[in-house]
């Protein structure tokens, strides 16, 4: 599983959902969880924060820059290309997951989800990456 000191970035335009996901991350033991209200703000944090982001959990459907476009931007930049990325999708978007896979997403999770489901998804990402965080 990810090291609990990993800096996690939660991206969602809905404040309540951000808080919920951040709470789930805190419940899983993560001690450094950041938030952003849309893809552009998330990119700004990824680019400018002195401590690297070790895991992005991003909603799909957001204004200014969608989760998918944020993923593409992260993957296109050599500095951050290896950042583990989990997309959070609504049921209506699940048919678009293939686009996300093509863009290099590590995994996706359909909301609403439980802490147990999020744990499974993160463990799967961690295992797939050989047990080491990219950042």
């Amino acid at each position: 599983m990810f090291d609990k000191s990993t800096r996690v970035l939660v991206v969602d335009d809905m404040a309540t959902m951000r808080k919920l996901v951040m709470k789930v991350c805190a419940d899983l033991g993560f001690t450094d969880v950041q938030e952003a209200a849309d893809g552009e703000k998330a990119w700004s944090i990824i680019n400018n924060d002195p401590k690297p982001i070790g895991l992005v959990i991003s909603d799909w459907n957001m204004p200014h820059l969608t989760g998918l476009d944020l993923l593409k931007r992260v993957r296109a930049d050599k500095r951050y290309a290896g950042t583990p990325f989990l997309l959070v999708t609504a049921e209506a978007e699940s048919s678009q997951v293939t686009d996300a896979v093509k863009a290099g997403v590590d995994n996706y999770i359909v909301k609403p989800f439980t802490a147990a489901t999020l744990t499974e998804k993160l463990e799967a990402i961690h295992k797939k990456r050989g047990g080491a965080a990219a950042a």
């Binding site: 809905m14 808080k19 919920l20 789930v24 609504a90 049921e91 609403p112």
Partner: protein
């Protein structure tokens, strides 16, 4: 945990979020069994875990049942569904919305609600769902009922389950007879004396009632596949499943999706409406009369009456009439609710014009959903408010231009309005309801709403006295 295991301080915790005063009033009786906590629609309160500050007692409560009302404009119901479900993973959560444009039941259920209801159309279904939820939460202490046909009861037989009756004035269910007891002529007399045409069975005893009623149906016709009560319930439930997905016009269906919906409706009609022994025909009509307008009762009733009239008179295609009956008022979603709910005679000129647009709106909605309907179905929907002397709408077509299916649909539509029970009105016997229908159709001072000869033929289907 059953209510008996709870102590006096741990009543069912019902949390309502953002419901209007009218909605709360409408559900007040269900709340009698619950300690109800009402909080305004501030979804941030839910996500932040600050629920404690919103409770009456000022202490943290875990809700047993949650009812969520209309979202503020900046929030989507999908997001609210996801948030509430993530906050309370195992709790029963219902959505109650007045906004037909955002109501898409299947999608809301996928996003986290246990069920979703369009208010006030589905007020009855919501109430039943709350009672079913309370029934489970209290281990059966709170009863949930479903109406069954008196015609399914056999004098001299032993009923496998308890029966209750509904007192409309008190809005309460009361015990009528125990299970494992003989149903006698005295019971029939008692029901008749109190003008009771519908009895109620507890939800968890419904299966045994269906089996009992089917035994009776098979005694009359060995090929019978289900009782009248079960057939009616399945028809209502199936119609709700399919029709509930048609209110949201923003959903762009493909041609095959529309065809699938039509096929589902056809299958529902064939299975639950047309496949019955012929002797049941008058009972099927009589059994649907005198019921309160509830959920999808109107389209289901109109489909039932229309198809049965067509079959009995051998006029028109029963399947087309039934299909048109199920779909004929969908366009009302585009008419302001207060106009739809107003009795026609109280609408002003502007409201009348607005309401009349529902006919074209129905056809537009069906076209948007790519429902490939037959010509007779489309024509019946388009003409169901026309009148033989040309005084109807939308085009004022006279009798010669009206299809048989349209004329039957018109009569079935008016038959339901004339024979349904309206809260506040006295309960009438079947012959009184038929008389009411006769007067509405044949004794008007002005225009005739339908061909009087056809109306008379339909009235002639019923035995004298309407029984």
């Amino acid at each position: 945990m059953a209510i008996a295991e709870r102590n006096a301080s741990s009543a069912i915790q019902l949390l309502t979020v953002g419901l209007s005063k009218e909605q709360l009033t409408g559900l007040a009786q269900a709340f009698e069994y619950c300690k109800a906590t009402h909080i305004p629609m501030d979804i941030n309160l839910l996500g932040s875990g600050a629920i404690a500050s919103a409770t009456e007692a000022g202490s943290n409560v875990k809700p047993d049942l949650i009812v969520v009302g209309d979202p503020p404009n900046q929030l989507s119901l999908d997001e609210i569904a996801q948030t509430v479900r993530m906050t309370w993973p195992g709790v029963t959560i219902f959505s109650v919305t007045r906004k037909r444009s955002i109501y898409f039941r299947k999608r809301l259920v996928k996003n986290g609600f246990n069920d979703a209801f369009l208010y006030p159309l589905e007020a009855g279904a919501l109430r039943r769902a709350i009672y079913v939820a309370l029934n489970k939460l209290t281990g059966g202490v709170v009863k949930a009922y479903r109406a069954v046909r008196v015609a399914d009861l056999r004098v001299g037989s032993t009923l496998p389950c308890k029966l209750a009756i509904y007192l409309p004035v008190n809005d309460k269910y009361v015990h009528f007879m125990n299970g494992d007891v003989e149903f006698t002529a005295a019971h029939v007399d008692k029901l008749k004396a109190h003008r009771i045409q519908t009895v109620y069975v507890e939800i968890d005893e419904l299966a045994s009632f269906y089996a009992y009623a089917l035994t009776g149906a098979k005694q009359r016709d060995s090929a019978a596949k289900m009782s009248m009560s079960e057939r009616r319930h399945r028809f209502e439930d199936a119609a709700r499943e399919v029709l509930g997905g048609l209110f949201r016009a923003e959903i762009k269906l493909q041609l095959e999706d529309g065809q699938k919906i039509v096929d589902e409706l056809f299958s529902i009609i064939k299975t639950y409406l047309l496949d019955f022994p012929s002797y049941e025909l008058p009972q099927l009509i009589l059994g649907a009369m005198g019921q309160p307008a509830d959920s999808y009762t109107h389209p289901v009733n109109v489909a039932t009456y229309g198809a049965l009239f067509a079959m009995a008179l051998e006029i028109g295609n029963p399947v087309d009439v039934a299909m048109a009956g199920l779909l004929h008022d969908l366009g009302e979603v585009d008419v302001a609710e207060e106009v739809v709910l107003k009795p026609v005679e109280t609408r002003n000129e502007e409201e009348t014009v607005l309401y009349q647009k529902h006919v074209q709106a129905t056809l537009d909605l069906l076209q948007e959903h790519k429902l490939t309907l037959t010509g007779p179905v489309v024509k019946a929907i388009y003409q169901h408010h026309e009148e033989p002397e040309g005084g109807g709408y939308p085009t004022g077509t006279i009798k010669a231009g009206l299809s048989k299916e349209a004329q039957l649909l018109t009569i079935a539509d008016r038959f339901d309005y004339a024979t349904r029970w309206v809260p506040g009105q006295p309960v009438l016997f079947a012959d009184e309801l038929l008389d009411k229908f006769r007067k509405d159709m044949l004794e008007r001072k002005s225009h005739m709403p339908a061909d009087p000869e056809l109306v008379k033929k339909i009235l002639g289907l019923f035995p004298k006295g309407g029984t």
